[in-house]
């Protein structure tokens, strides 16, 4: 089982390397992280926080958008691409279970995400610590951000595989992936904000809003990192609501979502004849 998963993972890494996905993911993360750490260096004196913690708060806001995007870009082709190239029927005649194929792809894509995230955050941390040795105090927050980013990415890899299995065409899967990203990462928050404003402190704000935040892995990720770092003041918007929700709940959401999305992906991939 492990051997078969690793065989698929190795192949996927070869493909990602050739297709420049590794390079693209790393460059994206490093470039955006460096830009943010440069831009985020101004307010340190005002907030009294160390420089790295402030950078972590900025990186959190960035990663909410970027990590799901990179994960979906890597995963939307996973099943639909095999179907369209005609490589899937042959693969499925091998003594390998469908979930093992997905697990192999997951291992490879997660590894690439880890490399990209570590490179990006690492670059930002190096810059912050070089400018201000006191920033070492923020390493805990950075570590938290790193592993939660990986879990967030894994959740969206699962979503990507599920959409890829359902669409069975690369173009369709790409459209669904972009739609999902827009919906969950951009429009979801806008919708919640609009509802909170309209509700003006009523039942929605007190009861439904916290649940709605936890129901979205991207929001749970932001919430967890901002409450954990006590850096809510450095963030704007939805972060302000973070204090209302216990930290274990957002942590649970971050941990559970990858499992749920991967189970969904396995279920979507299981059905369907060729």
């Amino acid at each position: 089982m492990i051997a078969r998963i690793l065989a698929t993972a190795t192949t996927e890494i070869h493909i990602a390397r050739r297709n420049r996905w590794v390079l693209i993911a790393v460059l994206l993360m490093v470039a955006f992280s460096l830009v943010l750490s440069a831009a985020g260096s101004a307010p340190t004196g005002v907030l009294g926080a160390d420089r790295l913690s402030v950078v972590v708060a900025s990186l959190t806001s960035l990663s909410v958008y970027l990590v799901p995007l990179v994960a979906l870009l890597m995963s939307f082709d996973a099943v639909a691409g095999e179907v369209e190239r005609g490589t899937l029927p042959l693969l499925l005649t091998y003594p390998v279970a469908r979930w093992e194929i997905l697990a192999g792809k997951l291992v490879a894509h997660t590894a690439i995400l880890v490399v990209a995230i570590v490179a990006g955050y690492g670059a930002a941390a190096v810059v912050a610590i070089a400018a201000d040795p006191a920033a070492l105090a923020g390493l805990g927050a950075l570590w938290r951000l790193t592993w939660t980013s990986v879990l967030l990415g894994a959740a969206f890899l699962g979503f990507g595989y599920a959409l890829s299995s359902l669409a069975r065409r690369v173009s369709g899967a790409a459209g669904l992936a972009i739609g999902l990203w827009l919906g969950m990462v951009v429009l979801y928050d806008l919708g919640l904000l609009a509802a909170v404003v309209a509700d003006n402190g009523g039942l929605f704000t007190t009861r439904i809003f916290p649940v709605a935040l936890l129901a979205n892995p991207a929001d749970a990720f932001r919430l967890f990192n901002l409450t954990a770092a006590h850096a809510t003041a450095a963030a704007s918007g939805i972060g302000g609501a973070a204090n209302a929700i216990p930290q274990w709940q957002s942590l649970a959401s971050i941990v559970i979502w990858p499992l749920v999305s991967l189970v969904l992906a396995a279920m979507a991939f299981r059905k369907g004849e060729l």
Binding site: R4, T10, T11, H14, I15, R85, G86, T87, T93, L274
Partner: protein, 298 residues
């Protein structure tokens, strides 16, 4: 002897359209069986059912003693799809390495395997740069991995040049000699004739004939053609002696049923002083194939 592959009364329909109707067949260890049929006759569907890629509506199938598509069956079955496709970014070596590892084999033999299909020189190039024939050979190489007990090959020689075809059939002979059962589909009748033990003809989703070529030839009972050239001046005598003979382009053409062949030849042999030459033309493979594939479903 237990068959490696047994199918009885298999039926499969796609949305009301019957792709396979009541198909039964068996392939024994060491046997090379060719599956013939027009495009759309159901060859690929039959293969996909055997591989467990699509589920049958009705019928019993046993693949190496297990259900089609079960882990036990897949461990012993190799498949070569029509127009074998691979990820263009992978090299031939990487692709074969993956397939060997999926079969729990040490991938150190991958290079040797590629060498057997003549791809040693291109093993470290991306498959995207390969020609169609080279991709087909990657497909062959993966079908040779391990010691499959059943090989299901969908038009394995399409895209191969004549020399590669001969090499390919030699590989198959070796596998069959080791006890592998081989089911291959083809359009090239003359090619499979000499290289397989038995022929199956599918037409409109039904098995219309199966047997060795002599069996099928007998069963079809197609007429034998004879072409005679007369010595100058004797044409009239011959026409008179052989009712049914006609003059075509200066030669005399005659057809007779299989069981009349010897009697007809005996009559001809009484006129050896009047006949310059004689050709006996048995029904061609194409004739036999058309006979069976038209008999049903059209």
């Amino acid at each position: 002897m237990t068959s490696t592959l047994t199918i009885s009364r298999l039926t499969k329909a796609f949305g009301g359209v019957k792709a396979l109707t009541d198909v039964s067949l068996a392939v024994a260890p060491g046997e090379r069986v060719a599956l013939l049929g027009h495009n759309g006759a159901g060859k690929s569907t039959l293969m996909k059912v055997i591989l467990g890629l699509i589920a049958p509506d009705d019928g019993d199938i046993s693949v190496c003693g297990a259900a089609p598509g079960s882990a036990q069956a897949r461990a012993q079955v190799a498949y070569l799809p029509e127009n074998a496709a691979f990820h263009p970014a992978l090299t031939g070596l990487e692709q074969i390495t993956q397939y060997m590892r999926l079969r729990n084999l040490n991938p150190s033999g991958a290079m040797e395997l590629l060498g057997r299909v003549g791809l040693a020189g291109a093993a470290k190039r991306r498959i995207g740069t390969y020609s169609k024939g080279m991709r087909q050979r990657v497909g062959l190489a993966q079908a040779l991995i391990g010691q499959p007990r059943l090989l299901v090959l969908d038009e394995p020689t399409s895209g191969l040049d004549p020399v590669s075809r001969r090499d390919f059939y030699e590989l198959l002979d070796g596998l069959a000699a080791d006890g592998a059962a081989i089911l291959l589909s083809s359009h090239a009748l003359t090619e499979v004739e000499a290289r397989t033990d038995r022929l199956l003809i599918l037409s409109g989703g039904r098995m219309v004939a199966q047997g060795t070529l002599p069996d099928l030839r007998r069963e079809a009972a197609l007429p034998v053609a004879m072409h005679l050239s007369a010595i100058n001046g004797y044409e009239g005598d011959i026409l008179a002696a052989l009712p049914g003979a006609i003059r075509v382009n200066g030669a005399l053409h005659l057809t007779c049923a299989q069981d009349q062949k010897l009697a007809t030849l005996a009559r001809i042999s009484t006129m050896t002083d009047k006949i310059a030459d004689l050709d006996v033309i048995p029904p061609s493979l194409e004739d036999i194939y058309s006979h069976f594939s038209r008999r049903d479903g059209q």
